[in-house]
Structure formats: C-alpha cells, structure tokens
C-alpha cells in the first residue's frame, strides 16, 4: 500500500495504491494521519485501491472522524462498485461526500 499526496488547485489529493486490509491498515492509518492537514480540502482517491476489507473501511471511518474534529472538508473518489455497495449497505457511505473524479471533488469542495 502506497500513499501519495498532490495539490490540485489548493485541494490536497491523497491517493492510495494497493490493498487496504488488516495487514496494511495500521500503517496506512498512521501515514494518513501525518498527511492530513489541520484544515482545508482533501480528496481521497481510491481508484488505485485494489482491495478494501472491513478493516480498510474502518480506516476510512477514522479519517472521517479526524476530518470532523478538524476543519477539513473531505471527499472520496474512485470507489469501486463493490466498495460502494458495502459502504452503502453498512451506512458508512452516508458519512462521506462521494464524487466521480478528482476534478469533480476539487469543484465540489471549492464552491
């Protein structure tokens, strides 16, 4: 699992490559925490996340809580159909702003 951070017109785009499961989750969580700004706009790009387990979803839940505590506005993009269905059925999806692309996320968070 690799994390990358870029700036897109003032928005932090964090993308995650690889598998997000119980093996990688603790490290991803730490790295995300370090990459996360105290305020501003973040788009989490999951289009290169090959697999996400329930532990992975819990990482997202923690990210959501971190964003809530700080002044960060957060959007998710690149959800696979499977991940989207699981997040929907378990109610996690409702916590997030979900967008179809990084560009849409930048737009959604900056207007």
């Amino acid at each position: 699992m690799r994390l990358r951070q870029e700036s897109h017109g003032g928005v932090n785009v964090i993308s995650m490559d690889g598998r997000l499961d119980s093996e990688t989750a603790p490290r991803v969580q730490q790295e995300l925490q370090a990459l996360f700004p105290d305020d501003g706009l973040v788009v989490l790009d999951l289009s290169r996340t090959m697999y996400m387990s329930s532990a992975g979803l819990r990482v997202l839940l923690l990210v959501y809580r971190q964003a809530q505590r700080s002044a960060v506005r957060l959007a998710l993009t690149g959800l696979s159909d499977d991940v989207r269905a699981i997040m929907d059925a378990t109610g996690f999806l409702g916590f997030f702003t979900v967008v179809e692309s990084v560009e849409e996320g930048v737009e959604a968070l900056t207007v």
């Binding site: 119980s22 329930s54 809580r65 699981i86 109610g91 996690f92």
Partner: protein
C-alpha cells in the same frame, strides 16, 4: 502525557508458536484486547479444552492451542492470544471429556465446536459454523430507541429475506438487511411503527429432511450472530454493521425493531443430531435430559435448552443484553416462551428465575418482552404466563375469537367483546399493553388464504399434508382456492377488511403479518417453513393488483393512530350496543355486536360488526357531547369509499340508524 500500556498487554509464554498469557474469564467469547484477543469459554465437565485457529477458508487449522491447567478458573477456560489478524481469523474449540450419554455427557474431541458467544459465524461454505471475531466499531451517531409506549405500537411481522427477495421488490440487494432499509418508506406509508423480524440469529437454512430447506429459521446455531446470508455484505463479514445500520435507519424513521428469538431449543436436535456447539461443550448443562440421558423435547424439534440452569440463564441474559445494548434492538418476541418457565426436568416452575431475571434486568428495562405463551408439549399459558407486570403475550385466544366471529360462527359474540377491549378476563391488572392481538402470523394461513381455503394445502412440504395446524377457523367463502367467481371474490375481499378493521379497532397491541395488506397468498399452505421461493416471498406486484386493500389498511392504521381511545382506557369506557342502542345481544345466536369507545374526552368511536349473511339495521346511540356521527369505514361499501382518510370522514346522513350490510364492519367517529 504518556499513557502506560496495561501490563497484561504482554505475553507470558508461547503455546503452539503463539505468544499468550492467561486470559480474563469474563466476558465469555472472543474479545479484542490490547495486542490480542481474549478467548473465554465455559465447560463444567470438560477434561481438556483446545483453542483451534484457522486462516479464513482454510480446511486445516493454522494452530491448536491447548489451555494449560493454570489458564482455568473454576469451569472457565480463558487465554489471551497475541499477534492475531482478527480479520482473517476463524476459530473454534475442541473439548474432551467423558462420552457417557446415560450420564448426560457427549464430549467428542474430533469435532471443532462453535463458540456460543461468537458475534459472527462464517455463515456460508463448508466451514459455515466457524466462529469469527467482530471488529466493534459502528458509528451510531445520536441513535436512540424511539421508546414508543407499548400500547401505541402497530407491529408488522416480517421475514428479512422474504420481504425483498422477490424480483419485484426492486431493491439493490434483495433478501437482505440492506434491502429492508430500502423499504422503510413503504413501512412509513403503511403507518406501522414497529417491525418484528423473524429469526435473524445464525441458523442452517438447509436443515430439513423433507425439502432440504429451513426458511423460517427457528433453529438457532449462533445466538449472538446476525445471519450472514441476510447481509449484502456477509461475504465481507460486515453483517454486524449492516444489521446495526438497519436498526439505526429504522429508528431514524421512528420505527422500533423487535427480534423473534428462539431460546427453547437449538439446531443440534436430539441424540441423532449434529454436534455444533453446546452438545460438545457441556451437554449436561445446556440441555434438559431425561434420567437416562435422552433429550426432553418440549419444543417439538428434538431438544430443549435447559434455560433455568443458572449458567444457561446467564447465557440468555448476556445474549439479550448484547442485542439491546450493542445493537440497539427495542425488544424481543420469545418463541415458545412457555418452555422458559420449565425446570431442568421439564417441570413447571412457580417462579421461573429466567423470566424473573429478564423482567427485572437493568439493561432490558425499556425493552419490550413478548411471550409466545405456549409450547409444543401442551403447556398453554395465554393469560397465565409468569409476567411480573412486565411481559406481554401473543394472544392466541384473540386470534381464534376474531377468526370464528368473522367466519360467522355462533356463540362467540360475547367473547369478541372481551377480546376487543384488551381481554380484561386475562389482563385486567396488566392493561392493554399485555395483549398482542393478531389474526394471522407467519405460523398459519395468510389473511388472504384464511378467507380462501377451508383446508390447509401443505402438499409441497413433503410431509403428506400431515404438518401444520388443522384448527384454522378458516372459510373459503364458497370455493376452495383460486376462483374467478366475482361473488366469492367480493366476499373474500370484505372478509379480509373485516378482520383487519376489527384488529385495528381493538384495544391491545395489533400485529399485522407482512403482506396481508397486499393480499399475499401461500396457496393454502399454512406451514411454509420449508419454502424459500415465490410461495413465501412477498410479491410486490400485489401492491398494484390489490391497491384497494393496501389503501384500506393504511387508512385503518392511521385511524387507530388518530384515536387514543382505541389503544387504552378502562373497559368501563366502552359501551355495548346491538340492533337496539344500549341493548347488546349476548345470546348464543347473535352475530351482531356494536361497541362505543368513549373515554369522555371528546374522542369517541363506534364500531359495528355484523357477521350475519343478512344486513341489519342498527339503532345508533346519540353521539355524545352534542357532536355528530361521521363515517370512517364500511367494509360493505365498494372501494374507495370503504374507508376515508382520517380527519376527512363524511357526516352520516341518518344520525339515528345505520345499516350494517351482510358480513361487514362499520366504524363511525364523532366530530
């Protein structure tokens, strides 16, 4: 500030390659603790216990960890194992001990047993009964139970899978908790405020010798585990979250969630049945046994859980507390609850400790407790169930009386009056919340079949039509089963409305069977426990086909909500009438009854029921307090004027007389 890690986050020794330490005896089950998982299991008669760990889906264990003697406190074996990836972990126990059935012991160390406290089972595939550890992190936000007054409930009994499994349901995930969430707007429209879910504890849906299918699920395997195959996310092992999401969304819509729970027996059956969990953990503790070591069978299914044994009682309490506190469930309906009042030898207990414990439990204080107050061995406690002023009961006598009256039987008019005011002959001191009234339930005919069949038609069950109840008090209205005779169909439609209207105008808690508001049929099958197919699934096409019936039911539910006088009050606030006002006819040949519910506060409802095939002109009592009678419903009228929107009832032209048509129920309200 540095937070010191707890000292027991470190292992003290290695067993089978895993770092471990002596665990905590409580809580039972597998609990995530700092650095590891604490496993705790009870067995009073075991000589050796081994924890068996698997990697997800692997046939062979990755390790077997015998509990050292020093890890046992009393009859509890506990061990903390460090460094486990709980997400990919499956586990079970091997338990050794005497195999002396005549002394009650059936230990078999060749079997890997389910943890009775497991929050999840694998739920599918060849290793479906393996236990799993749940990641306990669900965001309930500000969820709080609606905490509706018991007498204000309108219960809707449904099967999680059957409710949305039919292709016509149009949901994204048919047959699941998530699918049910999608139907919440429908439940809101109908107006019910409480769903009672048929069993959702893990059970084996293939466990049936006749059809190979157990659909209803009254045969539990994992009492703490929501059924994985009812979850769209079951294969990702997210069923606990999905179930919690269902409860949360129901609550958001103001709807309570009750679970139909089965603590009278398990799927392990009798001495011929499989060993899954209790049988191999401590048979003599968990089951009621004869002096010869055979299984008492008060449940009609092979075995009987020994639920008044102190350890088993603790198990039941732990289980219900879990569902209430961790899963926010609002209450429980106890299958064959009379069994829960029996002692270890099957004897009837005067003051059953389990029922008493549940009644006074601090965690369960605000949760509904509803007993099916009978068992399969002839014990019938409707009206005499040990209630501690706390328990409600499925009122089987209400069901039978309304069915018989609507059918036209003689000699039940007086009893109907008693049932309509909350059965004070049985529940006078407990109030109307004590009686759960119903005409149909999952067990027996659907409402449409009740008026379409004289006899049960269970041929497809493979039991030669010998299964299911013969005493249904049903009437086919002139033709058995399908017909295109318009007169028969009209009578059936009216009879369904009659039953629904009487149910929703009676004091006590009404319970509707899902689909009855749409004319659901099981083609005369009154025991469809073994069919997982369109026979039992709700066909949503009926919503269009029977739009009249749906509209009628919706209005009747709304009417009940608008009139508190129908939900409670003293029996003295109901005045009885007959063909003549103020003169009820209690004679055995009477088929006419009228009740005026008048609490004196301006809320007054008049209900007239005519089960005769002739019309009767009824003299109306004067509407109290200078008001006028308005017509809410008349089942003898053609839709859509068979019922009006509550609040928009037209005034009655003739305030002195009402003609109740053949086999009809009429409801008036004052304004």
């Amino acid at each position: 500030m540095t937070i010191l890690e707890p000292i027991d986050a470190y292992p003290t020794q290695r067993i089978s390659g895993f770092p471990v330490r002596a665990g905590r005896s409580l809580p039972f089950g597998a609990t995530v603790v700092p650095g590891g998982v604490n496993f705790s299991v009870y067995s009073n008669h075991a000589t050796a216990v081994t924890l068996v760990l698997y990697r997800e889906g692997e046939p062979e264990p990755m390790a077997e960890l015998p509990f050292p003697e020093s890890f046992r406190v009393g009859s509890v074996h506990a061990m903390t194992v460090f460094g486990l990836d709980v997400e990919g972990l499956e586990y079970g126990y091997r338990v050794d001990g005497p195999n002396l059935p005549w002394e009650g012991h059936r230990f078999d160390p060749s079997v890997v047993l389910s943890d009775p406290y497991a929050r999840m089972l694998t739920g599918h595939g060849p290793y479906r009964n393996r236990s799993r550890v749940a990641l306990d992190d669900f965001d309930w936000e500000d969820d709080r139970p609606p905490r509706l007054a018991h007498e204000d409930l309108v219960i809707y009994e449904l099967h999680v899978r059957g409710f949305t499994r039919h292709p016509s349901s149009g949901v994204a995930a048919p047959g699941t908790y998530a699918g049910l969430v999608e139907k919440i707007p429908y439940l809101k429209e109908l107006g019910v405020n409480c769903v009672e879910l048929m069993p959702v504890f893990e059970f084996d849906e293939t466990d049936n010798v006749f059809t190979g299918v157990n659909y209803w699920g009254y045969s539990p395997i994992g009492f703490f585990a929501p059924k994985a195959s009812y979850a769209a996310t079951g294969r990702s092992h997210m069923q606990v979250d999905e179930f919690k999401h269902l409860v949360k969304e129901m609550h958001r819509a103001g709807i309570e969630v009750l679970l139909d729970v089965v603590f009278n027996h398990t799927a392990e059956g009798d001495e011929r049945g499989p060993t899954i969990s209790f049988k191999g953990l401590d048979n003599a503790t968990y089951y009621m046994l004869t002096p010869e070591g055979y299984y008492y069978n008060f449940s009609g299914t092979g075995n009987t859980l020994n639920c008044n044994h102190p350890v088993v009682r603790g198990f039941v309490l732990d289980c219900l507390r879990y569902w209430a506190a961790e899963c926010h469930v609002d209450g429980f309906r106890f299958d064959l609850a009379a069994v829960l009042g029996r002692g270890p030898g099957g004897e009837l207990l005067h003051n059953p400790p389990l029922l008493e414990s549940l009644a006074y439990d601090p965690v369960l204080r605000d949760r509904k407790l509803i007993a099916e107050a009978w068992d399969a061995a002839g014990l019938y406690q409707v009206g005499s169930f040990p209630h501690y002023s706390r328990w409600s009961e499925w009122n089987g006598r209400y069901r039978d009386t309304v069915r018989r009256f609507v059918k036209g039987d003689l000699g039940v008019t007086g009893e109907l009056a008693t049932r309509m005011v909350g059965s004070p002959d049985m529940y006078s001191r407990r109030g109307t919340a004590a009686t759960v009234n119903f005409v149909t339930s999952h067990d027996g005919f659907t409402l449409r079949d009740l008026v379409s069949y004289d006899h049960k038609h269970n041929e497809a069950n493979g039991e030669g039509n010998r299964d299911g109840d013969d005493g249904n008090h049903s009437w086919n209205c002139g033709a058995e089963g399908d017909t295109d005779d318009p007169a028969v169909l009209a009578t059936r439609a009216r009879q369904q409305r009659n039953a629904l209207l009487l149910l929703l105008a009676s004091r006590g808690v009404p319970m509707l069977l899902a689909g009855d508001e749409l004319g659901r049929t099981q083609r005369g099958n009154n025991n469809a426990y073994c069919h997982d197919n369109p026979l039992t699934w709700l066909d949503w096409g009926l919503l269009e086909e029977n739009a009249d019936l749906f509209r009628f039911t919706r209005r009747a539910v709304a009417f009940r909500r608008a009139h508190p006088v129908l939900r409670g009050g003293s029996p003295a606030s109901v005045h009885w009438h007959g063909v003549r006002a103020w003169q009820p006819d209690w004679s055995a040949h009477s088929r006419v009854l009228a009740a005026m519910f008048d609490g004196g506060g301006g809320d007054c409802v008049y209900v007239a029921a005519n089960a005769h095939w002739e019309p009767h002109a009824l003299e109306l009592p004067e509407a109290p307090r200078g008001q006028r009678w308005h017509l809410f419903a008349d089942t003898g009228a053609a839709p859509p004027v068979d019922a009006f929107e509550p609040g928009e009832e037209p005034p009655l032209a003739n305030q002195a007389q009402l003609v109740a048509g053949p086999r009809s129920v009429v409801i008036l309200v004052t304004r």
